[in-house]
Symmetry: C2
Subunit: 269 residues, 2 copies
């Protein structure tokens, strides 16, 4: 049984002054003593270090060739804003699953509320400390689809339904959907918040890749994947994303944060 | 854009009496009217149905060949008990990702607290309604490792570290680990709750399958996967699981609920 105590620091130096939060964590939470060996990492290196409150001293660089190899090509995620608790959860899980950068997307159906970027960054740092990675993902807020970084993105979208009744549901459910998007009713939000919904119209058949038909280890050659918000992509969103390939992550309809996990699990550079 | 309103019922009949919760959901949350068409499902069929409060009337069986094909061999999950909020999250996500049965495991390191099985079942039903599947997973509580159903299980375990310093950390971290397992300190729990930890001793080299070396679509021929609790597997746990193959789900150390998501994403029968 082996638990590493790991602390993220901005730049590894011979002697590092602990900040208040790190002091609290090491002293009160993990009950470390002077002289105890822990692990420190910045975004490039991993070292063993000795505690000498209020400092830690880097004592030996760790052999992290394998870890460095796995981060040569780390996946990026773009995701629509979702409810705070689910967004925080997605950040934690995306970090564990090796995400490199997270773009929070301003899509048409985003009901954008204030987010505390510092809090999200702290969640990412804690997850990185726990899961053993040597880097902390960057989080970018308020990214417009028209302003995405020039990368080879893949878009997560539900396959067009082969159900003969699909059109029937579509017309009927439009009114419900509109009510849902616009409503402030928290009960509705709690029921259908952050569902990625089928889009029966916009997905272009020829432009779609089925995971089922490909090896999921290398199922895309992209740099990252874009995942819709609660309410799914709008037609306008999809027209902005037209040039990218589409993938369906699962037979079931996945919530945004579930899709983040599934995508990063399948993305194995 | 298409949102299905879906309601799980125990047995589809011509006329089904709605219970109080279903009435509330359809009337107050989704604002359905008499005459509106929704979708109902039991564990075997999916129908269109017409609302006529307080009843719904099954009107047409849906073509679900594709869905039935995907459930011919649904994955099962065994997972150690973890903190309530994380356990509930795992149930929701496992349902979305197609789990068939969930076994809550009484492992050595489980700090077993009272769980509300009915609440977990409701979470599974709601997730099933939302994600489009036609069955609801069964949840089994208090399963001992010595009493697992006779299935071809695969065990999620972290690969033995190739780090030369691993033994060093192991001896040093034992004391921290013991403190963590036994402590009631909630801060410690919040930091390291539900981590799946490396086990440097017990994993038998010959018995391990590396996902990296296999096609993740069919990376196991098993019926399901077993995932450790907060604190990981004990040596005793692993001796009880000796006959099963081991897999490492990810290079990083995954929390229990993250491992549940990763395993079910990779399991594509």
């Amino acid at each position: 049984m082996c638990i590493m105590i790991r602390v993220y620091v901005e730049n590894i130096q011979d002697t590092i002054m602990l900040n208040a939060k790190q002091m609290h964590y090491l002293k009160n939470v993990m009950r470390c003593q002077d002289g105890q060996i822990i692990e420190i990492f910045d975004n490039q290196n991993e070292w063993r270090a000795k505690i000498s409150f209020p400092h830690i001293h880097a004592i030996e660089q760790k052999n992290i060739e394998q870890k460095l190899a796995t981060i040569q090509r780390r996946p990026k995620i773009g995701m629509g804003y979702i409810r705070k608790s689910r967004l925080e959860w997605a950040i934690e899980k995306a970090t564990e699953l090796g995400v490199d950068e997270i773009y929070l997307l301003m899509t048409d159906r985003v009901n954008h509320k204030y987010i505390d970027l510092r809090r999200l960054e702290r969640i990412a740092i804690e997850a990185a400390e726990q899961c053993g990675r040597i880097g902390v993902p960057k989080i970018h807020e308020n990214i417009k689809l028209s302003n995405l970084p020039e990368l080879n993105w893949v878009v997560a979208a539900k396959e067009e339904s082969s159900d003969k009744n699909a059109k029937y549901y579509e017309s009927q459910d439009n009114q419900i959907n509109n009510a849902q998007i616009k409503s402030q009713d928290t009960q509705i939000n709690s029921q259908s918040d952050s569902l990625i919904q089928s889009n029966l119209v916009e997905i272009i058949e020829n432009n779609r890749t089925h995971i089922e038909q490909s090896n999921s280890i290398d199922f895309w050659n992209g740099d990252g994947i874009l995942i819709g918000p609660e309410g799914g992509w709008s037609e306008n969103d999809l027209s902005l994303l037209q040039k990218y390939n589409k993938v369906q992550l699962h037979d079931n309809v996945l919530r945004t944060e579930t899709a983040v996990c599934a995508a990063l699990t399948l993305f194995r550079p």
